[in-house]
């Protein structure tokens, strides 16, 4: 089946305006009669919940942490892009659009990306008005910095805590609506299933993580802003709680999963030190503004970095990509780092690391400037590694960071299941096969503040009012299944903890479906994953009971879904016989090791349909047309 | 207006402001008291004349005493209320507790206050009304100089006074800094001086107060 993205007709710069005009509206007095269930309270979820409530809808917001402010958007460091062109360096909506489509390696939907660039400026206005303390020039105006994949400075930032500040802004807007009585918060509450009634998403089943109570919630539409699935690799820069459950359960209920193999491996993370490690820590991309990446020229050079003379260092990014240098996009930088480590030139324990060196910047700018720009990152690095980056270069290595894939949505951010909207990282979105730095925050807030509030109204107006009660048979069935799964997990009484399975799965997926992928490895993973899953359901041990706070049980439910999802991820990677963005198939590369796209065969979105446990999923294609940015081999040379 | 005051007082910040203002009044009194005391070093005539002057102000003296008493009552009332609030705020304590920043002075405010209160009662019975003075029941309120010297010649009495002075100084140290913080007297440029100011003030008042019993015990000031 060919999927229709429902992109409006007309010239690209007018599509969104004209579409908004055509969207049906709901009378202000009627809005409160519609209940919208928003799952997730990150940038996308919180901004959507706040904006919808402001419009007058009755909103319920669910999140598994203890406060909406904990959502993982908070950990974004570097910044948020917008086409303000404040530095007067030639930026424009067109350029942001162009950079994003190119950065995504021509696998994104043009119209979505253009809209994203269009609303980017309004996001900055909104955040400033909310009190987000962005960095300022001495004159009091906003300051910008550069990020990967762009030759203009368009990134707005609040020290190294931009995500935190933007989330606190969205959180405060949300709490204002809570105070107004228009949003009900459901804290420590995890979505276990989606309820579909007569083909429409009409509710969710949740578990209260404190009491273990399984609850049914009905609404007129369901919005998922539940983030990405980067934790499928176990070790990633995601928070420990990030999981695929919400979108995977929705997928099992009929929502198509698009491009799962597009995962982003971030080049600048602190390398793994041992088996005890529970997560990897990102060092913001902004560091690449002033830090230079290098490895020794010679294999097995174990001298400390300070004793390696300039002539024996290989600044491989500057060498290979003179135009963009250290600021090439993430996928390119990650692969280049992997390549030099594979050659045996990596540094640090295990040879899995490259240097990110600030010596030159410290000399040029002085320590106070570096401290002001990156102080908290340097501090964090020192905390974790016990090494002082002011004195010796940082050691970094790529790690799983973001997932471009997600549930398929049309131009209105609605999945193929009517009434199910997916926003932020949870959808397959606007980033194609690779996301540019500082664009995730932009997309999450664009979806939540400026896109969904319009498009959801059109759906509700079209679908009309029809009350569904939580006593409906579909709700009862979904609750029964959720309860059954939990009982089953508790009843296995095997030997191994959920974490041990998660680690095993993560290692397998990282090795075969990580930075480099090939046919044999992917096939091997496809064989191995079901084996791990089998053992999981035979040999899992979940201590405790279902009616209290039980973190082992929480992990078990999430790992169970990762074990199902991982297979789809690998299957998608296997089918996509080309390299593009974060998806690098070793069989498909140019002579100098760059990703080789195959636009003839793969210029489409692969949207997978669940066909039942053990059955091979169906793939649907949404063809991608590029009328404005002509696909070319990406060059950052 | 009344409701506004009560709403403000209803917050712990409001109570603290009352504590700060009344504390300021009492500290002001203590400072003047200390300066008055030091006249003992100028001889019996000077001191006794000063005492006669104070007693001669009549209604003014009683008004002053009234303000002082009211301040003390409000100070104690607000302190009791915030203390009870704080105790209620942590019903279950820690098995292991360590501090980094707080001072001995800050942690002793709550039992230093009551001790000072008890001392003040003793002090009044000792030097003002005389019931607890060594010369009781023939205490002569007009000869302040000799009363003080005789009083302090009893070593344990001086010891009690010195201990009380120490408590007052500690109370002052944390009190002054705390008052500045509570009244919002903060400025990034001058903040580091606030602690210094409080310490200097406490030290000055403490030394001034301690000087009299020490001088008597050392025999520098003798009865006439």
């Amino acid at each position: 089946m060919m999927l229709d993205g429902k992109v409006p007709e007309g010239p690209i710069e007018q599509k969104w305006d004209q579409h908004r005009f055509r969207l049906k509206l709901i009378n202000p007095a009627n809005k409160r009669k519609y209940r919208i269930l928003v799952v997730g309270s990150g940038l996308a979820g919180a901004s959507a919940a706040a904006s919808l409530a402001e419009l007058g809808y009755a909103v319920d917001c669910f999140f598994f942490q203890d406060s909406p402010r904990r959502a993982h958007s908070i950990a974004a460091q570097g910044g948020i892009n917008a086409a303000k062109n404040y530095p007067n360096d030639g930026d424009s909506i067109w350029r942001l659009f162009h950079d994003t489509v190119k950065g995504g390696d021509y696998r994104a939907r043009e119209a979505n990306v253009y809209r994203l660039a269009q609303v980017s400026n309004a996001i900055i206005d909104q955040c400033v008005a909310q009190g987000v303390p962005f960095a300022r020039e001495y004159g009091g105006t906003l300051e910008n910095r550069s990020f990967g994949g762009a030759q203009v400075s368009r990134t707005f930032y609040a020290r190294g805590q931009t995500g935190q500040q933007l989330l606190l802004g969205a959180y405060s807007a949300l709490m204002r609506q809570v105070a107004a009585g228009r949003v009900r918060l459901h804290k420590r509450c995890e979505m276990l299933d989606l309820v579909v009634v007569e083909g429409r998403a009409r509710g969710i089943v949740t578990r209260d993580l404190i009491t273990g109570k399984i609850e049914r919630h009905a609404g007129d539409a369901v919005v998922l802003g539940t983030g990405g699935y980067g934790n499928v690799f176990y070790l990633s820069t995601n928070a420990k709680g990030c999981n695929v459950t919400a979108i995977w359960r929705a997928h099992r209920r009929g929502a198509f999963f698009a491009n799962p193999c597009f995962t982003q491996i971030h080049p600048t993370c602190i390398p793994v030190t041992g088996d005890h490690q529970s997560k990897l820590t990102l060092m913001s991309e902004s560091l690449r503004n002033d830090g230079r990446i290098w490895v020794p020229k010679n294999k097995g050079d174990t001298r400390p970095p300070s004793q390696i003379p300039e002539a024996e260092r290989d600044y491989f990014l500057e060498r290979r990509y003179p135009a963009f240098g250290n600021l090439v996009p993430r996928d390119v930088a990650s692969r280049a780092a992997k390549a030099v480590c594979d050659e045996g030139r990596g540094v640090g324990p295990g040879g899995l690391g490259v240097y990110l060196d600030f010596a030159e910047a410290l000399e040029r700018l002085g320590r106070p400037v570096i401290e002001e720009r990156y102080g908290n990152l340097f501090h964090m690095y020192k905390k974790i590694t016990a090494e002082d980056p002011y004195r010796e270069p940082m050691r970094i290595y790529p790690a799983s960071h973001y997932t471009m894939g997600g549930l398929w949505v049309d131009y209105n951010l609605m999945s193929n299941l009517p009434g199910l909207f997916v926003i932020g990282e949870a959808n397959f979105s606007d980033h194609g096969a690779n996301r540019l730095g500082a664009s995730a925050l932009m997309q999450g807030l664009a979806d939540g503040y400026f896109v969904l509030p319009y498009t959801i109204g059109d759906y509700l107006a079209t679908a009309g009012k029809s009350k569904v009660d939580v006593d409906h048979a579909e709700f009862a069935a979904a609750e029964e299944q959720a309860r059954g799964r939990i009982t089953k997990l508790l009843g296995i009484r095997g030997e191994r903890s959920p974490d041990s399975f998660h680690k095993q799965l993560g290692k397998l997926v990282w090795n075969h479906c990580g930075m480099g992928r090939n046919d044999a490895g992917l096939r091997r993973a496809l064989e191995e994953i079901p084996k791990i899953r089998d053992e999981f359901w035979r040999n899992l041990r979940v201590t405790g009971t279902a009616d209290t706070l039980n973190q082992t049980l929480e992990k078990a439910t999430r790992v169970a879904d990762f074990l199902e999802f991982a297979e789809l991820l690998v299957r998608d990677a296997l089918h996509r016989e080309e390299s593009c963005g974060g998806h690098f198939r070793e069989e498909h590369q140019t002579e100098d090791g760059e990703a080789k796209r195959d636009d003839e065969r793969f210029a489409y979105v692969a949207a997978w349909e669940f066909k039942g446990d053990g059955a091979v999923p169906d793939m649907h294609k949404e063809p991608l047309r590029f009328d404005y940015v002509k696909p070319a081999q990406r060059s950052y040379k | 207006m009344t409701t506004k005051v009560m709403t403000f007082y209803g917050t712990s910040v409001g109570k603290k402001v009352v504590m700060a203002v009344t504390g300021f009044i009492v500290f002001g009194f203590v400072t003047v008291h200390m300066l008055g005391n030091l006249q003992i070093f100028l001889g019996p005539e000077k001191l006794n004349a000063y005492a006669r002057f104070l007693k001669g102000t009549g209604a003014f003296l009683w008004a002053f005493r009234g303000v002082l008493l009211l301040s003390a009552v409000l100070h104690i009332l607000s302190a009791t209320q915030v203390t009870l609030q704080s105790w209620a705020a942590r019903p279950e304590g820690y098995a292991v507790r360590r501090y980094r920043e707080t001072t001995y002075a800050a942690r002793t405010m709550r039992w230093g206050g009551p001790i000072i209160g008890v001392f003040v009662v003793y002090h009044l019975l000792h030097f003002t009304t005389g019931q607890l003075h060594p010369s009781a029941p023939h205490f002569d309120g007009t000869d302040v100089y000799n009363n003080v010297v005789h009083g302090f010649q009893v070593p344990w009495t001086s010891a009690v006074y010195l201990l009380a002075v120490l408590m007052v100084a500690l109370h002052l140290y944390h009190g002054v800094w705390s008052m500045l913080q509570t009244m919002g007297a903060a400025h990034p440029r001058y903040n580091r001086w606030r602690r210094f100011l409080a310490a200097a003030f406490a030290l000055l008042v403490g030394c001034g107060m301690a000087a009299v019993p020490v001088a008597v015990l050392a025999g520098w000031v003798r009865p006439v």
Binding site: T552 | A88, R100
Partner: protein, 248 residues
């Protein structure tokens, strides 16, 4: 490295709790404190015992989810550090480590080291925002903000809402948390219209939640993983005084 842990175990909000001793042997100095707990928990599961419940999420010191009182210090003995960023190398080999939940009436224990910090959300709900409708914002550069103010606002906004200030305060006061949010918004021109109403409502919500009073010990600032300054408390006090003097 080897350690002896004394961990607060409490099965539920109403259940009685106690300190239980666990060995934590053979721990790499490079593990973080929470990873050490992960290891202990894995071993507990292997023994078919219930693992220690503790809150955590980002593990990079920004989400504010983690926190416990370790050897008498909220987030442990290192300054400017969340529990997830504390590493075992900073402990003495063979040390006995006491791990207790953040304690305050306003933070009831849910289980073991997990506490309910909803009171913080209640304080924010009472006024910790600038009332601006989505889409109603003026051009971002229309409101110049002096760099110095923006930086100070950012100093206050760095608060991660972990609750260490409350846990470490001898009075279990939430003044540092509340004042940081007030300072963040009150230092910016955007925050001026609601500045005095905000201080009234937020302080009132703070009092209602059952936090203690501030007696200026300074333990909050010392425990704060983001080193938020208690000068913001002075600022809040002044704002509240000014708000109370203003005609409504």
């Amino acid at each position: 490295m080897n350690f002896t842990l004394k961990v607060w175990r409490q099965a539920g909000p109403e259940a009685p709790g106690r300190l239980v001793t666990y060995p934590a042997d053979d721990i790499s100095p490079d593990t973080s404190f929470l990873e050490m707990l992960d290891i202990v928990n894995e071993r507990l599961i292997a023994k078919n015992e219930e693992p220690i419940a503790f809150d955590h999420d980002c593990r990079e010191g920004i989400c504010g989810m983690c926190g416990a009182v370790v050897n008498g210090y909220a987030h442990g003995h290192e300054r400017g550090t969340t529990l997830c960023q504390l590493h075992m190398r900073s402990f003495r080999d063979g040390a006995t480590i006491y791990i207790e939940p953040f304690r305050a009436k306003a933070f009831p224990v849910i289980r073991d080291l997990v506490v309910d910090r909803s009171a913080f959300d209640a304080i924010i709900t009472a006024g910790g925002y600038i009332s601006i409708r989505t889409g109603a914002a003026p051009e971002a550069n229309a409101i110049p903000v002096p760099k110095e103010n923006a930086e100070r606002a950012m100093d206050a906004a760095a608060c991660i809402g972990c609750g260490a200030c409350v846990a470490s305060c001898p009075n279990a006061s939430a003044m540092l948390f509340t004042s940081a949010k007030l300072a963040h918004l009150g230092l910016l021109p955007q925050g001026q219209p609601e500045r005095f109403e905000r201080v009234r409502t937020m302080v009132s919500a703070m009092e209602q939640a059952g936090f203690g009073s501030c007696t200026n010990h300074g333990e909050c600032e010392a425990a704060c993983p983001k080193e938020v300054s208690m000068d913001f408390i002075a600022r809040m006090n002044l704002d509240l005084i000014r708000a109370s003097l203003k005609h409504r």
